[in-house]
């Protein structure tokens, strides 16, 4: 039977790996921001394609995270998952954002003790909102009128603005992002790079067989050898 490692040890290493992930996201975003500031209009996307590999959207997320960390120095010490960094960074860039100081303070306070994802950050911010108050839609139903509230609401459909939107073309929304094998490979290599610094004894209790690990190393070598080699024409 394979030796099992102590869960507390695994937990400690997991915390370190997660923390490194946060630090790396901020570091990558910071480098991208630095590069973008030096490039002329029209040079950015080609540079990104050549040097970054992942999508523009991913780069923008990293850059937003770095801007957040620039503004709040303690961010890299908190338990903020990358999705939270992206969300808060984007909100910081948005002048109409409803994420105010109170929401940020609550999220940062929670992130001192628990890992906060983007969804959790949003939940915290929403929990601080006051309960909804009735909104005045400027619709009146005369007393004695048989119109029900529902019929009154139907009248609103005649509102020109609303009708224009409903009868017009749908808004342009980006197509759903599909995680490509490229993204998955990059993430896997990033994780392995972070794990390289650990003691080998940390990994001997793995559930993977030596043969499967050797097969992965052969695959990685083949990819490394293929980089920079011109593709054969089909």
């Amino acid at each position: 039977m394979r030796n099992r490692r102590d869960l507390a040890l695994i937990s400690a290493e997991l915390q370190t790996a997660l923390k490194n992930e946060t630090v790396n996201v901020i570091a990558i975003g910071s480098l991208l921001n630095e590069a973008q500031a030096q490039l002329e209009h029209g040079e950015w996307l080609p540079w990104l394609k050549e040097n970054f590999g992942s999508s523009v959207k991913t780069a923008e997320n990293y850059m937003a995270a770095a801007r957040l960390a620039d503004k709040f120095e303690t961010v890299s010490n908190l338990k903020l998952r990358p999705t939270a960094l992206y969300l808060l960074g984007r909100e910081l860039d948005d002048p109409n954002s409803w994420f105010d100081c109170q929401a940020l303070e609550a999220i940062f306070a929670a992130a001192k003790t628990e890992w906060i994802s983007g969804d959790r950050a949003r939940e915290i911010a929403w929990s601080l909102l006051p309960p909804p108050e009735p909104v005045n839609l400027e619709i009146t139903v005369e007393e004695g009128d048989d119109e029900t509230a529902d019929e009154a609401l139907l009248l609103m459909e005649e509102d020109n603005d609303v009708r224009d939107v409903l009868d017009g073309p749908p808004p342009e929304v980006p197509p759903p992002v599909v995680k490509t094998v490229h993204d998955m490979f990059d993430q896997a290599v990033l994780t392995l790079t972070q794990l390289q610094t650990k003691s080998l004894t940390s990994f001997v209790a793995t559930t993977h067989t030596p043969d499967s690990i050797r097969a992965v190393s052969v695959f990685l070598k083949q990819v490394a050898d293929a980089i920079g080699v011109p593709r054969k024409k089909v």
């Binding site: 959207k57 409903l166 749908p170 808004p171 759903p176």
Partner: protein, 84 residues
């Protein structure tokens, strides 16, 4: 199997649910449907609203109140059967 107990709801409640905002944000950011969300009705409604409302239409005003224009559009879309 018995029918799940239904309850009355108001558009204001639906639109101020955090999952509604998340659904709206997911559609506008190009994120695929997240089937793991609990209490997914509001999430689905948020996604549907994102497929209808102009991208610059904010859900909340800067004073953190529900945007009346968004509410108006939501109610009208619901009456057209575009949002259930």
């Amino acid at each position: 199997m018995s029918q799940y107990e239904t309850r009355m709801t108001l558009p204001e409640w639906v639109m101020t649910h955090s999952n509604f905002a998340r659904g709206l944000d997911d559609v506008r950011s190009g994120r695929p449907f997240d089937a793991e969300i609990h209490d997914g009705w509001e999430y689905e409604r948020g996604r549907l609203f994102g497929a209808i409302a102009p991208r610059n239409m904010r859900l909340l005003t800067r004073a953190k109140n529900l945007n009346p224009k968004a509410l108006k559009l939501y109610i009208a879309a619901r009456h057209r059967g575009l949002i259930l």
